[in-house]
Amino acid sequence: MRFIFITVVKEMKRRFNDPGGMISAIMIPLAIGFLMASVMGGGGGQPSIRAQLLVTDLDDSFVSQGILSALGQDQIADMIVVEKVDHQAGQRRINDGDGSGHLVIPEGFGKAWLEREDVALQLTVNPSQSISPRLIREMLESLLDLGDYLHKVFGEELKIIANSLDSSELVGISTSVFSSNITDKISGIADLIFPPAITVEDITPQPENVSVSFALLMFPGILVMAAFFAANGQSTNFWTEKEKGTLGRWVASPNAFFSFWLAQWFTAMLLTAVVAVPIMLAGFLYLDISYEKFFTTLGWLALTGPVLFSVLSLIQVLAPSKKAGGMISTLVMFPLLMVGGSFFPTETMPKFIATIAQYTPNGRVIEPMKGYLTGEYGASGMFIHMWGIMVAALVLVLLAGLISTRKALA
C-alpha cells in the first residue's frame, strides 16, 4: 500500500512537471463550455433555457384564446415559448422529442369551462427532459387555479363576454351596467384580494434559488469532459511506460503488477480532482452556485470520474500498439462526449439519444451531478449512484491489469 501511495505521488509529480496535458484538460472543456453557452445564449444567473410548449387549439374559443394569451404574458413568456401547431404535427414532434410538451385544448373546452362541466386539457410531455416539462405542468396548474377563481367571481360576466363575442355585441345589457356589475363585485371582494397592510416575517429557511440556465445544464458535462481528457492522458501511461522500459522495471521489482494499476486508478482520481478544481471555481462563480456544494461535487467527480480512466485503460491494453490505442480511444471518447451529455445537455437532445446517454459511463457521472447542482435532489440522492460506478470502474481497471500482465509476460 505504501508503494502505491509513493507511485501516486510520483505520477502527480510527473504531471506537474509536464503540465501541458493538465492545462489542455482544463482549457479545452472551458472553451467548449463557454462557446456552447454563448451560442445558446445561456448566461450565469439568467434563466435562458425556456420550455417549448406546442399547443393545439381545437376549441378556438374565447377561453382557449385566453389561455394562450396568458401563456404569452411577459414573465411566463420568459420561461415558456408557445408555438401553435395542428394536432398531428404536435403529436409527431413530441414523439420525436422536439419540444418540451404538447398541450391539446379539446373542442368545446371553453363552453364546458363556462358551464362548469367536467373537461380536461391534454398535456403530453417529453420524458427525456426533466426540468422544462415540470415548469409547464406547474404553470398550467397555476393558470387553471386562477381560471377557477375567475369563474367563481366573474362567471356570469365571462359568459356574457363569450356570448357577445359570438354575436359581436353585448346582448341585452348596456356597457355601463356591465362595467358597474364588475366594479361592484371587485369592491365586494376587495378585502380578500387587497389584504390589509400586515407584514409577515417569513422565518422558514428559503430553498436555494438555482436558476436553471443552459450554462448550468452544460456545467456537469464540462467537468466530466475535463475528467475524460485527464483520464485519456493517464490511460496512455501504460504504453508510455512500456516503451520507456519503466514498466519493465516495475515488473522486475518485487511489487505485484496489479498495484501498478491500482496506483494508476488512484492517480486518475487525484488528477480528475486537480483538473476539476479550477473549472469548478470558475463555474460556481459564474453560475452563482452555492459553494456549500463545492466539495460534495468535487468528491463525486473524484470518486466516479476514474470510471472513464478504467474504460480508456481497457481499450489501451486491448489495443495492439500505442498508436492503435490512441486512435481507438479517440474514436470512442468523442462519440461518448457527444452522446453522454458533455457537448450538449441531455435536456436538449432527442429522446432516444437522451436515453442512450443514461447508459454511457460519462452520462452516469453527469446526470446525478446535474440533479444535485440544479437542486433536483440532495447530496445523498447523488451519492446513491456512486457505488455502482465505482465497482464498475474497479472491475474494468483490474481487467485491464489482468490483460496487461498476460501481455507483459507473454
Binding site: 505504501r2 508503494f3 509513493i6 507511485t7 510520483k10 509529480k13 510527473r14 512537471n17 509536464d18 516503451e243 520507456k244 522500459g245 519503466t246 519493465g248 522495471r249 516495475w250 515488473v251 522486475a252 521489482s253 518485487p254 511489487n255 507483459a408 509476460l409 507473454a410
Partner: protein, 308 residues
C-alpha cells in the same frame, strides 16, 4: 548467485533461447556475448521476470524465480537496454522512486540516493529533469536506478549502447566497483572489447544457443596459441585456398575483400604469407597481426563476424 538450467523461451515455432545453462557467483562479472538477435536480451528478460520461460529453471540469490518470485526479485538490480527512467522526474526523484520500489525508506533511502548520485556523477544536476541531460548522463542515471537498492545481483543489458567514451569509462568503473563489492554482475554486450575488459567469465551466444563458454584465457585456448592475420584487398578465393593449406594455416574468413587466417608464430611467418598470397594475383592493401580475441573466436565458431 545466478543459476540458469536448460532455459528455453519460444514464440510459437521460433525458439529465441534454446536450452541455455550457465552460472555466475558473487564478485564476478559474467558476460553474455553475441550479435544482435542472438537471444541475450531474451535471456536477461527471463532472468528479471519480464518474460516467462517456456522451460528450464532460474535461481537468483538462492531463490527460484518462479516459486519464490518476490524474494528472488528483491535481490536483483536491473539496468535495461532502453533508458528506463522518468524523463519528467528529476534524477533524485527517479532514484528515490526505484529505491522505494525495493523497500528503502527514510534516512536509508536518502543516503542511498545521495551515494548513487555521487557515484554516477550527477549530484550537481540531481534536481534537473533528465530531458535536459546528455545521452551519457541519462545512461548513468539508468544505471543508478538499478543500483540504488544495493542489489546482490546486477543485470546489465547492453548498458553502453549510444554512450560517449567518457561516460562509457565511468560505467566500466561502476561495474568494477560493484564487482569489488561482491555483486554478481551479468553483462550482455556485442562489443568484444567491453567483454574482454570487464568479464571474468563469458558465454558466447548465437541463435539462442551458447556455443562457447569459460574464462577469456580458456576461450583463447580454442586457438591453440595461434595468431590471427587479417588481410584486406582483393582476392580470388579459389586461388588463395590451396596456398593457405600449403602454409598450414586455418581459414577464419575468406571473401573477395577480406582474408583472415590463424597461424602459428604469426610474426615470424608473416612475410612468407604475404608473398604466397600476392603470388596468386591478390592485391593486398592492409595487413593486421593480432593475438586471438573474442571477435576471431566468434568468427571461428560461427563463420561470421560479430558486428555483422
Amino acid at each position: 548467485m545466478i543459476e540458469v538450467r536448460d532455459l528455453q523461451k519460444s514464440y510459437g515455432d521460433l525458439v529465441a533461447v534454446n536450452r541455455v545453462s550457465f552460472s555466475a557467483g558473487a564478485g564476478t562479472v559474467f558476460g553474455l556475448l553475441g550479435p544482435n538477435g542472438a537471444g541475450k536480451s531474451t535471456t536477461i528478460s527471463c532472468l528479471s521476470g519480464l518474460l516467462k520461460p517456456t522451460a528450464g529453471t532460474i535461481r537468483v540469490g538462492g531463490f527460484d524465480l518462479t516459486g519464490e518470485a518476490v524474494k528472488a526479485k528483491s535481490s536483483l538490480g536491473i539496468v535495461p537496454q532502453e533508458l528506463a527512467i522518468y524523463e519528467d522526474l528529476s534524477a533524485r526523484d527517479n532514484l528515490a522512486y526505484w529505491g522505494a520500489a525495493y523497500g528503502l525508506k527514510g534516512d536509508r533511502l536518502k543516503q542511498r540516493v545521495d551515494h548513487v548520485l555521487n557515484r554516477i556523477g550527477l549530484m550537481d544536476r540531481a534536481g534537473d529533469l533528465p530531458k535536459q541531460y546528455s545521452g551519457g548522463m541519462k545512461r548513468r542515471l539508468n544505471f543508478g536506478c538499478g543500483l540504488v537498492h544495493e542489489p546482490a545481483i546486477l543485470l546489465l543489458d547492453e548498458p553502453t549502447v549510444g554512450v560517449d567514451p567518457q561516460s562509457r569509462e565511468r560505467l566500466f568503473d561502476l561495474v568494477r566497483e560493484e564487482k569489488a563489492k561482491g555483486t554478481c554482475v551479468l553483462y550482455t554486450t556485442h562489443y568484444m572489447e567491453e567483454a574482454e575488459k570487464l568479464c571474468d567469465e563469458l558465454a558466447i551466444i548465437d541463435h539462442g544457443k551458447i556455443i562457447a563458454g569459460g574464462t577469456l584465457d580458456e576461450l583463447r585456448a580454442e586457438f591453440g596459441g595461434n595468431d590471427i592475420i587479417r588481410l584486406t584487398g582483393s582476392f580470388e578465393p579459389s586461388s588463395v585456398e590451396p596456398v593457405i593449406a600449403e602454409l598450414n594455416a586455418g581459414i577464419l574468413s575468406l571473401t573477395p575483400e577480406v582474408l583472415m587466417i590463424t597461424i602459428s608464430e604469426g610474426a615470424r611467418v608473416l612475410p612468407a604469407v604475404l608473398q604466397a598470397i600476392s603470388a596468386t594475383g591478390a592485391d593486398i592493401r592492409d595487413t593486421r597481426l593480432s593475438e586471438p580475441n573474442l571477435e576471431s573466436l566468434f568468427l571461428k565458431l560461427t563463420g561470421k563476424e560479430l558486428r555483422a
